[in-house]
C-alpha cells in the first residue's frame, strides 16, 4: 500500500503508467462516445412531450453529472496535496480544472439550446442552471489563479487552498441557490423526472454517462502528463525522454 503511494508520488513512474493506461482507454472511450451518440441520435424513439429535442439529453446530462463529480475529484486532490504535501496531487488538481470547465460549459450550452424549443427562451434563472453557472465560475477561478502565479509550486498550493474552501462552500452554494429559487418561484419549470424515463432511452444515456466519465479520465491524464513534463523539465529522466 505504502509503496504504491510512494510510486504515485514519483513523476517518472506516473508518467509511464498513465501513458500505458491512455493507450487503451482513449480509443475505447472514443468508440463508446460514438456508439452512444449515434444510438441516442438515430436509434431511439422521441420523447412524447418534447419530441426530438430531448435527444440533447445524451450529452447534456452526462456532461452535467461528470462536471459536478469533477469538482470533488479536484478538491480531493487538493486536500491530498495540502495534507500530505504530495506534488503529484497538485498536478492532478491543476489538470482537473480545464476538463471540468469544458464539461460545465457543454452542460450550460446544451441546456441553453435545449431550453429554446422547450421553454421558448435560451436562459432562465432556474436553481440548477444558476448553480451550474456558479460551478463554471469556480472552475475558471482555479484556472485563472493557477495561471497568474509564476512559481508553479506555489500556484498549486494556492489552488489547493481555494478548492478546499470551495468544498466547504459548494454544498452551501447549492442549497442556498435551490432554496432561493423555491422561495421566489413555485417550480413552474420541471425537468423530466428520472423515474419516468423509458428503458430504451435509459440504456444509451447510461452508456453516455459512462463514456463521459472515461473521457474525463482521459483528458485528466493527458493534462497531467503535460504538466509533469513541464514541471520536471530540468530532471534527468525528462531530458532522456526528450533527447531520445
Amino acid at each position: 500500500m505504502w509503496s504504491f503511494f510512494h510510486k504515485l508520488g514519483s513523476p517518472p513512474w506516473l508518467y509511464r503508467i498513465t501513458g500505458s493506461i491512455l493507450r487503451w482507454l482513449l480509443p475505447l472511450t472514443l468508440i463508446a462516445l460514438a456508439v452512444g451518440a449515434v444510438w441516442g441520435l438515430l436509434f431511439t424513439a422521441p420523447d412524447f412531450r418534447q419530441g426530438n429535442s430531448y435527444r440533447i439529453i445524451y450529452i447534456h446530462v452526462p456532461s452535467a453529472v461528470v462536471a459536478l463529480a469533477g469538482y470533488y475529484v479536484m478538491a480531493f486532490a487538493g486536500a491530498i496535496s495540502l495534507i500530505w504535501k504530495m506534488k503529484m496531487a497538485d498536478v492532478a488538481m491543476k489538470s482537473c480544472a480545464p476538463v471540468g470547465a469544458a464539461l460545465t460549459f457543454i452542460a450550460l450550452v446544451t441546456g441553453a439550446i435545449w431550453g429554446k424549443p422547450t421553454w421558448g427562451t435560451w436562459w432562465v434563472w432556474d436553481a440548477r442552471i444558476t448553480s451550474m453557472l456558479i460551478l463554471l465560475f469556480l472552475y475558471l477561478g482555479v484556472i485563472a489563479l493557477y495561471e497568474a502565479f509564476d512559481n508553479k509550486e506555489a500556484a498549486g498550493k494556492a489552488c489547493a487552498v481555494l478548492t478546499l474552501v470551495g468544498t466547504v462552500n459548494i454544498p452551501i452554494i447549492y442549497k442556498s441557490v435551490d432554496w432561493w429559487y423555491s422561495l421566489h418561484q413555485p417550480a413552474s419549470i420541471k425537468f423530466t423526472g428520472e423515474s419516468s424515463i423509458d428503458p430504451s432511452m435509459l440504456y444509451p444515456l447510461l452508456l453516455m454517462i459512462g463514456s463521459f466519465y472515461a473521457l474525463f479520465t482521459c483528458a485528466l491524464l493527458m493534462n497531467m502528463r503535460l504538466e509533469i513534463l513541464r514541471r520536471e523539465s530540468r530532471t534527468g529522466w525528462v531530458r532522456k525522454l526528450v533527447g531520445a
Partner: protein, 228 residues
C-alpha cells in the same frame, strides 16, 4: 521586557489598521458618501417607480454591500505586501490566526459595520417599510462580516500577483452568493410578513463557520503568496 501578550498584540494591530483607514477626517465621510451615491444610482438606472423600488430595496442594499466589499477586499493586504510589512508580520512570533482576524475586523468596521449603521437611512430613501429595518440592519451586520472574511481569502490568495484586480472578484464572488441570497431573503421575508429568524440563524451559522475557518485559509494563503 517580556514578549507582549497575544491580545495586546492584536489590539495594537487593530488600532494600526484603523488609524491607517481613518488617518484624515474626510476618510470617515468618504465611504458614507460613497454608499449614498451608489444608492442613488439605482433609482436613476432602474427608473423611479416607488412601488417597484421598495420591493427590490433589500436586494439593492445587499448588492451594494457586496460591491463595497468587493471594491475594498483587494486592498486588505496589498499595501502591506508591497511595502514589506506583510513579510514582517509573517516573521513575527505572534500567531497568524489572530493577526489575520484583526486585519479583517478592521476592514469590516469601516465597510460592513458602517453600511449597516447607515442602512436605515438608505432604506428610507428606497421606501423600504419601517418594520423591515431592524432585520435589514441585523442581516447586514452578520452578512458583511462573512463577506469580509471570505474576501480576505481572495485577497490573501492574490496579494502576491502583479495584477490581482479582477482575479480576486472571480475567486470570491461565487462564495459571496449564498450570503447575498440569505441576506436579501431575510429582509424580503419580513416585508412579506414572515419571520426572518431562520434566515438570520443561517447567516449566523455561516459567520461562525467562516470565523473558524477563513483565518486558517487566509494564513495559509499568505504564506504561499509571499513566495509567488
Amino acid at each position: 521586557m517580556s514578549a507582549p501578550g497575544l491580545l495586546a498584540f492584536c489590539g495594537r494591530l487593530l488600532r494600526r489598521q484603523l488609524v491607517l483607514a481613518l488617518r484624515r477626517p474626510v476618510d470617515i465621510g468618504n465611504p458614507l458618501l460613497f454608499f449614498a451615491m451608489v444608492v442613488a444610482l439605482f433609482p436613476l438606472g432602474l427608473g423611479p417607480a416607488p412601488a417597484a423600488l421598495a420591493g427590490f430595496a433589500p436586494g439593492i442594499l445587499w448588492i451594494i454591500a457586496l460591491l463595497a466589499n468587493l471594491l475594498t477586499a483587494d486592498n486588505l493586504f496589498r499595501g502591506d505586501f508591497e511595502d514589506g510589512s506583510l513579510e514582517q508580520l509573517l516573521l513575527s512570533p505572534q500567531p497568524l490566526y489572530l493577526s489575520v482576524l484583526a486585519y479583517v475586523l478592521a476592514q469590516w468596521l469601516v465597510t460592513g459595520l458602517l453600511l449597516a449603521v447607515l442602512s436605515p437611512l438608505f432604506a428610507l430613501m428606497l421606501g423600504l417599510p419601517g418594520a423591515a429595518v431592524p432585520t435589514l440592519v441585523a442581516s447586514l451586520l452578520l452578512g458583511t462580516a462573512v463577506l469580509s472574511l471570505v474576501g480576505g481569502i481572495g485577497a490573501a490568495l492574490t496579494v502576491g500577483l502583479k495584477r490581482g484586480g479582477m482575479l480576486i472578484a472571480l475567486l470570491i464572488l461565487p462564495f459571496y452568493m449564498p450570503v447575498l441570497i440569505f441576506g436579501s431573503a431575510a429582509v424580503q421575508a419580513v416585508v412579506g410578513g414572515m419571520p426572518a429568524a431562520s434566515h438570520l440563524a443561517i447567516l449566523g451559522a455561516m459567520l461562525c463557520l467562516s470565523v473558524a475557518l477563513a483565518p486558517l485559509a487566509i494564513s495559509a494563503a499568505l504564506r504561499i503568496s509571499i513566495d509567488a
